[in-house]
């Protein structure tokens, strides 16, 4: 993934709570074997039915529990491919949040009143390292796990990082701690 330190620009607002990943990227587009090209299918039914209109600004602001439902990472790929670089909401579904961080797509949790202020401001500057959102109402801070921040800032391959801990993994396996459960290849 690409390094990301600052996201600056206009805010697109999707004022809905509990937006599920079936809406973000409907199932008929999950049959592709690639990670790319999903942007044109983002919110496929809502946009084509004229229910919503979204500009591909750097920042998407939305309601609580965004990304609930299916674990499909295609939702993140579609949002990124559409043009968003960061997403701000009062809360995110757990799997969606993790999927964002694996792709260098910055999820930012602000409280409801901060979200409303950001919607009014219409543009912002988000600094990953400082963990701040700077907009007309002032500067607000957000939480970000240190390791996640490090990876996003430097665009690091997380698998490579885990593979560097090979000794610890091998030791765990060698200790018998990994012997739980069946041997799937021997069924």
């Amino acid at each position: 993934m690409e390094p990301l330190d600052v996201i600056q620009g206009k805010v697109s607002v999707l004022d809905r709570a509990d937006v599920d990943t079936d809406q973000i990227i409907p199932k008929q587009f999950l049959k592709r074997l690639e990670r790319t090209g999903f942007g044109e299918f983002l919110f496929y039914d809502w946009i084509r039915d004229g229910e919503i209109n979204l500009e591909p600004n750097p920042i998407l602001l939305t309601g609580r529990n965004f990304g609930c439902g299916s674990s499909r990472e295609h939702a993140v790929w579609a949002l990124q491919d559409f043009g968003f670089a960061a997403i701000v909401a009062p809360s995110f579904a757990d799997i969606f949040y993790v999927n964002c961080t694996k792709n260098g797509f910055l999820p930012v949790i602000l409280d409801e009143s901060q979200c409303r202020a950001l919607a009014r401001a219409g543009e912002a500057r988000i600094d990953v390292d400082d963990q701040t959102v700077d907009f007309a109402d002032g500067v607000v801070e957000f939480d970000l796990d240190e390791e996640v921040k490090h990876r996003i800032l430097h665009g690091l391959d997380e698998i490579a990082l885990t593979l560097r801990r090979e000794d610890a993994i091998a030791e765990f396996e060698g200790s018998g701690a990994a012997d739980r459960g069946p041997v799937t290849t021997a069924l």
């Binding site: 809905r16 709570a17 509990d18 599920d20 079936d22 809406q23 409907p26 199932k27 008929q28 999950l30 049959k31 592709r32 074997l33 690639e34 990670r35 039914d45 309601g63 609580r64 529990n65 609930c68 439902g69 299916s70 674990s71 499909r72 990472e73 295609h74 993140v76 809360s91 995110f92 579904a93 757990d94 799997i95 993790v98 999927n99 694996k102 792709n103 796990d145 390791e147 391959d157 997380e158 698998i159 990082l161 885990t162 593979l163 801990r165 610890a168 993994i169 765990f172 396996e173 701690a177 990994a178 739980r180 459960g181 069946p182 041997v183 799937t184 290849t185 021997a186 069924l187």
Partner: protein, 461 residues
């Protein structure tokens, strides 16, 4: 210090702080292709194929298509063929079309005895929470994490918070495990369990079969929960014993598993108590699982909802569902009935539904189908004659797969069709664009097929 079931499993799997070891990785065709491709691009291998198993479920037609190359839909065919190729290349066992072990990934894990207490289990599918019914820590992951587990057998994880949902009282006749979890989500909201691993406890849970516990844990994700869990007990052990994946020294395993239950005095970050005796058969009326009422209720009036976000969501949901506030649930006419999906397609579910329809006929206007969760469930049901019961009543009897739970295969709702469904998601378009889904238990769905509308099965004869 007293520890919870979750604590015990987590602590036993920490390779290093924030890095947990995965005992079983379940793989299916929709969320794995890009992960295998990632391995190829980096020249990586699958670290533990012996802790990995794949099946084809989301995409597959339920018409008995015997091999991947014969799937009519070109993209589905390519995806299942890619799964078979990837598994062959990386040495991962796969149960694809033609295998009598194939089925919905969350049905075959338990039925093959792969799912066992105390394990960590992941799958690129949100309903992986199902496996927590065995006292495992099981959760859904995205494709990047699928690739991570394939390559390292580990996952960097932040420790979730712990919630306990304790049921008290006694479940009343006609009230299914599905109703318990729908009522719970209705109370806590679609976002109520975000950030939590949830343990379900209390006598009403202990009294449930493994199928019932799986139904409850399956839908934990619909309340936003990371994982759902039930402490293992004699019901759990009896289910596992004799299955292919069961431990060779079964008694020793049971001794270990008995120590997993939450210690007396262990603390949870959140505690919820629910009176199971106050729960009725439930029916969803909206486009989120939390938008649910009792079958004897009416479609709610959004104007009466205080929170603006919930009120607006209710208004949009009613417009999509073409429902008027105040309409009795039992007066909503149906077009389709679907019995299946990873939440309610196991043998017990099919037995319950069959008992409702035996000797009756599906209503004239209804198209009803039963889709067993796996080929083994199908074989077991056919051995008991359940297929004949359903067919005689006018149901279609299909081969196994995810089917109309998510409409990625030929089983879909047409625009505007209204369906009583035993699945777990009533999102807009989930079962087909413009389709309208009402989530119910298997017995409620079966009775609805006969009546052509919802009926209170407690007073149905």
């Amino acid at each position: 210090m007293p520890r919870t079931l979750f604590d015990k499993i987590w602590d036993a799997h920490e390779v290093a702080e924030g890095l947990i070891y995965i005992d079983l990785h379940l793989v299916h065709e929709i969320t794995s292709a890009q992960a295998f491709e990632g391995l190829r691009l980096e020249g990586r291998r699958v670290r533990r194929p012996d802790k990995t198993v794949a099946t084809a479920d989301h995409n597959v037609p339920t018409d008995g298509t015997p091999a991947a190359r014969l799937i009519a839909d070109e993209m589905s065919r390519k995806q299942v063929e890619a799964l078979e190729r990837n598994c062959a290349e990386f040495g991962v066992p796969v149960y694809s079309l033609g295998s009598d072990r194939r089925g919905i990934v969350h049905v075959i894990g338990p039925e093959l005895g792969l799912t066992q207490p105390g394990m960590t289990i992941v799958c690129g599918d949100s309903h992986t929470s199902t496996h927590g019914a065995f006292g495992a820590l099981a959760f859904g992951i995205g494709t990047s994490e699928v690739e991570h587990v394939l390559a390292t057998q580990c996952l960097p994880q932040r420790r979730p918070k712990a919630m306990r949902v304790s049921y008290v009282g006694e479940r009343r006749p006609g009230v299914a495990p599905k109703d318990l979890i729908l009522a719970t989500i209705g109370r806590l909201g679609t976002h109520g369990m975000i950030g939590y691993a949830v343990e379900y406890a209390g006598e009403p849970i202990r009294a449930l079969s493994m199928e019932g516990r799986m139904t409850i844990c399956n839908m934990t994700i619909e309340g936003g929960g990371r994982a759902g869990m039930v402490a293992p007990d004699s019901t759990t052990f009896a289910y596992i014993e004799g299955r292919s994946g069961a431990p060779e020294d079964f008694d020793a395993a049971v001794d270990r598993w008995r120590s997993l239950e939450t210690d007396e005095g262990a603390e949870f970050d959140a505690e919820v108590e629910i009176d199971a005796g106050a729960i009725s058969p439930m029916v969803t009326w909206g486009t989120q699982p939390a938008q649910v009422v009792e079958v004897t209720d009416r479609v709610p009036d959004p104007a009466a909802i205080d929170a603006p976000a919930d009120r607006e969501a209710a208004q949009r949901a009613l417009a999509y569902m073409a429902l008027e506030p105040g309409t009795p649930i039992t007066e909503i006419p149906l077009d389709r009935v679907f019995i299946g999906s990873c939440v309610n397609s196991r043998i017990e579910d099919l037995r319950e539904a069959a008992a409702m329809v035996e000797g009756r006929r599906v209503a004239e206007a209804i198209r009803a189908m039963v889709v067993p969760g796996s080929e083994q469930v199908r074989a077991a049901a056919e051995a008991e004659g359940l297929d004949g019961v359903f067919r005689s009543a006018g149901f279609e009897w299909r081969t196994s797969g995810c089917s109309m739970c998510l409409g990625m295969n030929p089983d879909v709702l047409a625009e505007g069709e209204r369906c009583a469904s035993t699945s777990n998601r009533n999102y807009e378009g989930r079962q087909g664009k413009g389709g309208r889904t009402h989530l119910v238990s298997p017995r409620m769905a079966a009775a609805a097929a006969i009546e052509g509308r919802f009926t209170d099965i407690r007073h149905w004869d």
